[in-house]
């Protein structure tokens, strides 16, 4: 199996005044199509790990390979291209744009691919059908429930069918029923590689592989194909 994501000896230390070591010497290989839950206490380095996997941050040491390509020498436009074409993000706070309709929020996920507006809307419509929100396309985010908003955010992340989906506490702001629905949705994305951060044991159990971080190191890795 090819590695969708690969970290080798990755460390991240934030510069002064904080001077916090968020990750140290992390080796991690995520194969294509794998679903991975990352757990750990607050401050264990989960979000930093996700940011580095998503090229939103550069490590202070080590290498990050995405679909086999080393990202350490990439320029800002090249990293932006990786995010635009290969990675979808889902956040705890949804980050929907209030002034746009649900359809346009999802279509915004493809705007930095240089795709024409009509094609973006077609992709967005299909993505919204996949998450069961075909009847909410003309609504504004403020008119939706929390669960629906997170489904819009997932539709935005998967509208361009990225190889990798990174989710940072996607169920953190939702009740149990809605949380379960989101997890079911993420687990059903087929060949998409999913890495999600969670505090919730039930959510972690729904993923094929579970990694636990402690003080910036992987202390437990279970259920993986390797």
């Amino acid at each position: 199996m090819t590695a969708a994501l690969e970290l080798r000896g990755v460390a991240k230390t934030y510069p002064p005044p904080t001077t916090v070591t968020a990750l140290s010497d992390v080796d991690l290989t995520v194969t294509a199509g794998e679903t991975v839950a990352v757990t750990g206490a607050s401050g264990a380095g989960k979000s930093t790990l996700l940011s580095i996997l998503g090229t939103l941050e550069r490590p202070t040491a080590g290498t990050v390979r995405i679909a086999g390509t080393d990202t350490s020498t990439m320029s800002d436009p090249q990293l932006s291209a990786v995010r635009a074409w290969h990675i979808g993000f889902v956040f705890q706070q949804f980050f929907l744009l209030d002034h746009l309709t649900v359809l346009d929020n999802v279509a915004t996920g493809l705007v930095y691919r240089g795709m024409p507006a009509t094609a973006r809307r077609e992709h967005a419509t299909r993505a919204l059908e996949r998450v069961g929100l075909a009847d909410r396309m003309r609504h504004r985010p403020a008119q939706l429930s929390g669960g629906e908003r997170q489904r819009v955010a997932i539709a935005r992340a998967v509208a361009g069918r990225p190889a990798v989906l990174l989710a940072d506490e996607p169920t953190g702001n939702l009740d149990t029923a809605n949380g379960r629905e989101i997890v079911r949705l993420l687990a059903s994305l087929g060949d998409t590689t999913v890495v999600l951060i969670t505090h919730n044991a039930a959510v972690a159990e729904a993923m094929a592989r579970r990694i636990r971080l402690e003080d910036g190191r992987i202390v437990d890795d279970s259920g993986g194909a390797a």
């Binding site: 941050e57 679909a67 390509t69 932006s80 635009a84 744009l97 705007v111 930095y112």
Partner: protein
């Protein structure tokens, strides 16, 4: 991985305007600053240009008017020109028309004989010819000009300021003034004559009356002449010897339109000052936009983080805020142009001037708004672009 991150121009504009549309009140208030400054700049230029246009029109009409006079005596009275002067000047080929006035020394003009003779109001008495209104392009404000009757009988026409000083604002058969011991019927009042201010403060009588009662003897003290517009300088050069062959150096030749040129220059000086004030207003409006944009960047950290996560390059984020700032200023600038034109129109109408707004001013106003908006957006845009995406997403 040869795929590129790319933002279409139409999408960049749409994203740039989205921020403006999402915060309407704030956008309108920020644009208002620019609108007021641009309106002020356009109105200053427009109002000045309109009144300049009026002066230039006047200059065009009056540029071919020359006056010939001699020096003054020690007590300030004009010395007379030779009797033949007017006839000689009229024979110079490019001279189109002439008219002469003769100063009647020591004559006072009063409303009645009860007014003490010392209260002269600065009004002088001039003998004038029937050709005066045509030669000076002078218009009658009220009544009519001196005609054949005035050659025989005591009739007078008052200059604009003289009529005001005497408190004469309407005419009837009984309207009389007391000139040098005799009542004269006021038959007309002249409108202001910009190129011959001495006419404004004078009471005009006919040469016939002046000869009979004041012993003027037909002697002119000043001759006005209209010349072919292309030959003004040539005629001016020969006027001295023609008017007073025995003593040409004693003759003063003037071009009254020089007064208009001086007024034009004075106006330009004021325009410079007001334009500087307008530019300061524009600068302040620009600082206002920069301030609002910095606040906007702080408020929209999450959006910036999200866009970076979706694949926006630093330059895309910078373009978004730069475009937003420039668009705000351009919208304000367009509103300002409209307001400025309206203000110019109203001001010109009130002053009775023709409306003149140079297209250059409109283009410059729009360009200035765009420049200020772009400069105001540079720092906020750079700040937004430099924001590390992971930090921006950790905002909440």
């Amino acid at each position: 991985m040869s795929l590129r991150s790319r933002l279409r121009a139409a999408d960049a504009v749409s994203i740039g305007t989205a921020g403006i549309r999402a915060r309407r009140t704030r956008s309108i208030l920020s644009a208002l600053g620019i609108a007021i400054a641009i309106a002020a700049l356009v109105a200053v230029q427009g109002v000045a240009e309109s009144s300049k246009r009026q002066l230039l029109d006047e200059l065009g009409r009056q540029g071919n008017l020359l006056t010939v006079a001699t020096g003054q005596t020690f007590d300030g009275r004009p010395t007379p020109l030779p009797l033949t002067a007017q006839a000689m000047i009229a024979r110079i080929p490019p001279v189109l028309a002439t008219t002469a006035v003769g100063n009647i020394d020591g004559a006072t003009v009063r409303r009645t004989d009860r007014i003490p003779p010392q209260n002269t109001n600065g009004i002088i008495v001039l003998a004038a010819q029937p050709s005066l209104p045509a030669t000076l392009s002078a218009r009658m404000l009220r009544g009519s000009y001196l005609g054949a009757v005035a050659e025989q009988y005591p009739e007078t026409v008052l200059g604009y300021s003289a009529a005001r000083s005497l408190g004469i604002d309407r005419l009837d058969a009984q309207t009389q003034v007391f000139i040098a011991g005799r009542y004269f019927t006021v038959i007309g009042v002249l409108d202001r004559v910009d190129v011959a201010p001495e006419i404004d403060t004078a009471a005009l009588v006919s040469f016939g009356v002046a000869d009979r009662w004041f012993g003027l003897g037909g002697v002119p003290t000043r001759i006005y002449l209209r010349v072919h517009p292309d030959r003004v300088a040539a005629v001016a050069a020969v006027l001295g010897p023609t008017a007073y062959p025995e003593n040409p150096r004693n003759v003063q030749v003037q071009r009254p339109s020089d007064l208009i040129v001086a007024r034009l220059q004075a106006k330009n000086a004021f325009v410079g000052l007001f334009l500087a004030l307008g530019a300061i207003a524009l600068l302040i409006a620009g600082v206002g936009i920069a301030n609002i944009m910095v606040i906007s960047v702080l408020e929209r950290r999450a959006e910036i983080g999200l866009r970076r996560a979706l694949g926006a390059r630093r330059r895309d984020v910078a373009a978004q805020f730069l475009l937003e700032s420039a668009l705000l200023a351009v919208v304000g600038g367009l509103a300002g142009l409209g307001l400025g034109c309206l203000a110019t129109l109203v001001a010109a109408r009130l002053a009775g001037n023709p409306t003149a707004i140079p297209p250059k001013t409109l283009l410059a106003g729009l360009a200035a708004a765009l420049l200020v908006g772009t400069l105001a957006g540079l720092y906020p845009a750079a700040r937004a672009a430099r924001l590390p995406p992971a930090d921006a997403l950790r905002t909440l």
